[in-house]
Amino acid sequence: MNLKRFVFLTLAFFVLLEIFLRFYQIEALSYFRSLKVIHQYNPNYFVGLKPNTRVYIKHYTGKWEGEFSINSLGLRNLEEADPNLKKILCLGDSLVMGFGVSDKETFCYLLNEKFKQHGYQFLNAGVDGLGSWGYYQRLKELLERVNQIDTVLLFVSPNDFTMPEVFLQRGILPDDVVEKKRLEDPQKKFFDTAQFVLTDWFYSFYVIKLTVKQMLLKFAIIKAELQIELEKTKNSTFINYIKESFLLPSKLKECIPKEEKKEIYKTLGSSYNAPQKILFSKPQQCPEEVPSSILKECRDFPKEIPDLPEFTKKAYQNILELSLKHHFRLIVVILPMQIEEIYCNNINQYHPLRMYALQAKQYFEKNQIEVWDLMENTKTLCKQNEYGITDHFIPEDGHLTKLGNVWVSENLYNYLVKYLGDR
């Protein structure tokens, strides 16, 4: 094949792919694409939200769907900053931004609704993917554009500077590590920027990037699953292995009296408005029993807590300096974000995934910054026969569900009433 023909074929491939993808809105790809189009390149913190955007996002397997709007300042929700009101900023990553819920379901929005009448406006400054350095840059930018910032609630996130081992193995790094690499290596910054912009312009480039990333991730997952299957064969006798392989737990045939069977025809001819499906786990007892796989990882609290990474400390230091310079109050909030740590916390034990919170808490308390640790209230994540811990988080995703956001807003409300009342 000569070069000319090869170039022609490649170009034609890209053109056709671009046309095809834009025409044929494949649900799964549309979901990822809509996540892409709400973002834009930001020279300071790499990825921000695209101002004045409004899209409806629908997860392709129905895990969540909702309105995603961004105002002119690049803040979630269309409401603009009111120059006459004192502002309280919710600063954080995706968990603050409200990944997985609609605009009006984010906890920052819910708090805004509650405190507006008291003269406070809550602004959602969360952007997914930000780390500590990103928070600093984002805050700096907003301080220049928004007046009367009274308080900044800084939500420390588990993946700002730490990452569970299983994700590290899959090549997923903490946000601060990625940001540091970008700052230190201009070449990486250039490539990251070029890739971000090109994937924004061309659907086909975006899809190629997505595929490569997901493939690497999938292979890491397959490897881990194979290991689990191998473990299974090792730990089981041959007969048991065969039984487990072919026999499922027995499904008992139901006894249905004949006259009851007719009940299914009741809805014929009508439009049946089925009651909203209740998907909550309905736990029989509270606090819930700790699953055995998690229980074995629960332990006593560590006596010594390591220092934060230098890069993270520097970012926090800069935020502290901003608070002095611009006279706003900084409050650090730690949310229960990983079910493992919540289960262990409920039996007054510690889970290694909680280390990030302890580290951040230690740092800020040393610097006399108030820390609101919502982990203290995790027992209220369970209500007998209604909902349990897992109902607050999107499965296999970990972001807060609508219920999770309500829980956070209610708990923060109590802290805020006290805090604002004291002043």
């Binding site: 792919l17 299957e229 026999l247 139901e254 025809y265 014929l268 001819g269 009508s270 439009s271 049946y272």
Partner: protein, 486 residues
């Protein structure tokens, strides 16, 4: 491993180049190894079932071939056939056997004595390779084919990965001998195979999988939907199952063609059929012809009295229904098809209808025939696609038969509810698919396809389809093929 998965993409990128790089005498060993690997990925333990079928069938074939005594031949024929049917009975039909046993003993689920059936997993592909084994044994018994050279060839014939889990159900005369010869890479085979693979992926991933959410939502809560939605769901399901199953066959045939083997076609554009009889000659051909040769003809076929022939036909369709699934709804589905086949034959044998057919313009007959066939085929899916459901305000699980019947009533009695409207772009792709099929159907139009396969455009279009599919598999969980459950 599913054809529509990342794993398979990588698998095939290794299997085919290595196949051609190996000396010809080792190619078959390579295929055998990778076929077992392909099957083991579903679940390692399934391999033992496959080995069981290989051994019992080969031993039967060996003695049928070796023995001169007709009685011994017959004994081994039955050993082989029953040995394979036993796998199906245990793994596929045990629940129904328990149902029958309970019925005979007069036990109802409400009785204490009721014998609860075990919940056994249905291993992938047994419905296909057990039938394939039976055909191989019977063909040797009938003297139609020679015994395979050795057990390794037989093992490869049964486990050959492209057709292992969802057919086509191959006859030993079609495939076995092809393994005796080595294969060399051939660009023409590659191009034509690539075309077929892409056509299959297009049908499966870009049509069937995209339609399935619309079908699923109606079948998972029919009481919420309008009568029209019931019809939309079944009409869409016919397209979905066609995309799904014909897509699988296309991928299988395409891959084998790239490797230089030739498989007979399994679907011959069934949606152009004008009668149900024609439909069954075009749909899942390898299975219909299996039924014809190993069920219908042994029952007496068409060489008997007309009444007996109709009974044979009906029985064959009942068996076809049962093969598709171990449930009473499938049995009735098969029965319905049987009834339409009978009715159709009777109707078309009326002199007046025959004469009318000669007078009417061809296009009108084609239009009415195709619309009738598509409607009947779709209508029967109410029973076929139904799954157990818990209806609102009841606290029991309705059986697929009850659900299917409920949906038929809901489709016929005007009922209020939500209306399902799939996006327009799906129809554009379906339309594109039927244009391609139309060209393939007509001799004078076939040239378009041939020219396309010869041109560089093939690579561009194949690249787009392969890449889009790869992307979909990497971001989602692959949708299993509908026919895997049978």
């Amino acid at each position: 491993m599913l054809f529509n998965s990342l794993h398979f993409f990588v698998f095939i990128l290794i299997v085919i180049p290595v196949f051609f790089l190996l000396p010809e005498r080792y190619q078959r060993y390579w295929l055998l190894i990778v076929s077992f690997y392909f099957y083991a990925v579903f679940k390692f333990i399934y391999i033992f079932l496959l080995l069981y079928s290989i051994i019992i069938s080969y031993v039967s074939i060996y003695y049928i071939d070796k023995s001169k005594n007709i009685r011994i031949k017959k004994i081994f024929l039955w050993i082989g056939v029953i040995g394979n049917l036993l796998v199906l009975l245990v793994f596929k039909y045990s629940v129904q056997l328990y149902d029958i046993l309970n019925f005979l003993l007069g036990f109802e689920p409400c009785n204490k004595e009721y014998i609860q059936p075990p919940n056994i997993i249905l291993p992938m592909g047994i419905s296909f390779y057990c039938l394939q084994s039976i055909s191989a044994i019977v063909d040797v018994y009938r003297g139609l084919v020679e015994k395979p050279k050795n057990i390794l060839y037989y093992a490869l014939y049964l486990s050959f990965f492209p057709q292992l889990v969802a057919g086509p159900i191959l006859r030993s005369k079609d495939l076995l001998k092809q393994f005796y010869l080595g294969k060399k890479f051939d660009l023409q085979n590659f191009r034509s195979g690539l075309f077929q693979v892409c056509l299959g992926l297009f049908k499966k991933t870009l049509i069937a999988d995209q339609i399935s959410p619309y079908v699923d939502q109606v079948f998972s809560a029919p009481w919420e939907y309008h009568s029209i939605s019931m019809w939309i769901a079944v009409f869409l399901f016919s397209l979905q199952i066609y995309g799904d199953f014909a897509g699988y066959s296309d991928i299988a045939i395409g891959i084998t063609r790239i490797m230089g083997y030739d498989l007979p076609q399994n679907f011959n554009r069934p949606f152009f059929s004008k009668t149900m009889g024609e439909f069954w000659r075009r749909w899942h051909i390898s299975f219909s012809s299996w039924l014809r040769d190993y069920v219908y003809i042994p029952l007496g076929g068409s060489r008997v009295h007309a009444f007996r022939m109709y009974v044979n036909l009906f029985l064959t369709m009942l068996i076809s229904g049962l093969w598709h699934g171990a449930g009473w709804n499938y049995l009735i589905w098969g029965g319905l098809h049987g009834m339409f086949l009978l009715g159709e034959r009777l109707f078309l044998s009326i002199q007046f209808i025959k004469r009318l057919g000669e007078k009417l313009p061809e296009w009108l007959i084609a239009f009415v025939g195709i619309a009738y066939t598509y409607s009947v085929f779709s209508f029967t899916f109410f029973l076929f696609r139904a799954k157990p459901l818990v209806f609102p305000e009841t606290n029991f699980t309705a059986s697929p038969l009850d659900v299917g019947w409920y949906m038929i009533l809901r489709a016929l009695i005007p009922s209020e509810g939500k209306i399902v409207i799939p996006s327009l772009q799906y129809f554009v792709l379906i339309f594109a698919l039927f244009i391609v099929e139309y060209w393939m159907e007509h001799e004078d139009k076939k040239i378009y396809i041939k020219n396309f396969i010869k041109s560089d455009y093939l690579y561009i279009v194949a690249g787009v389809i392969l890449f889009t599919c790869l992307t979909i598999y990497s971001v989602t969980v692959s949708q299993p093929f509908v026919y895997f459950q049978f």
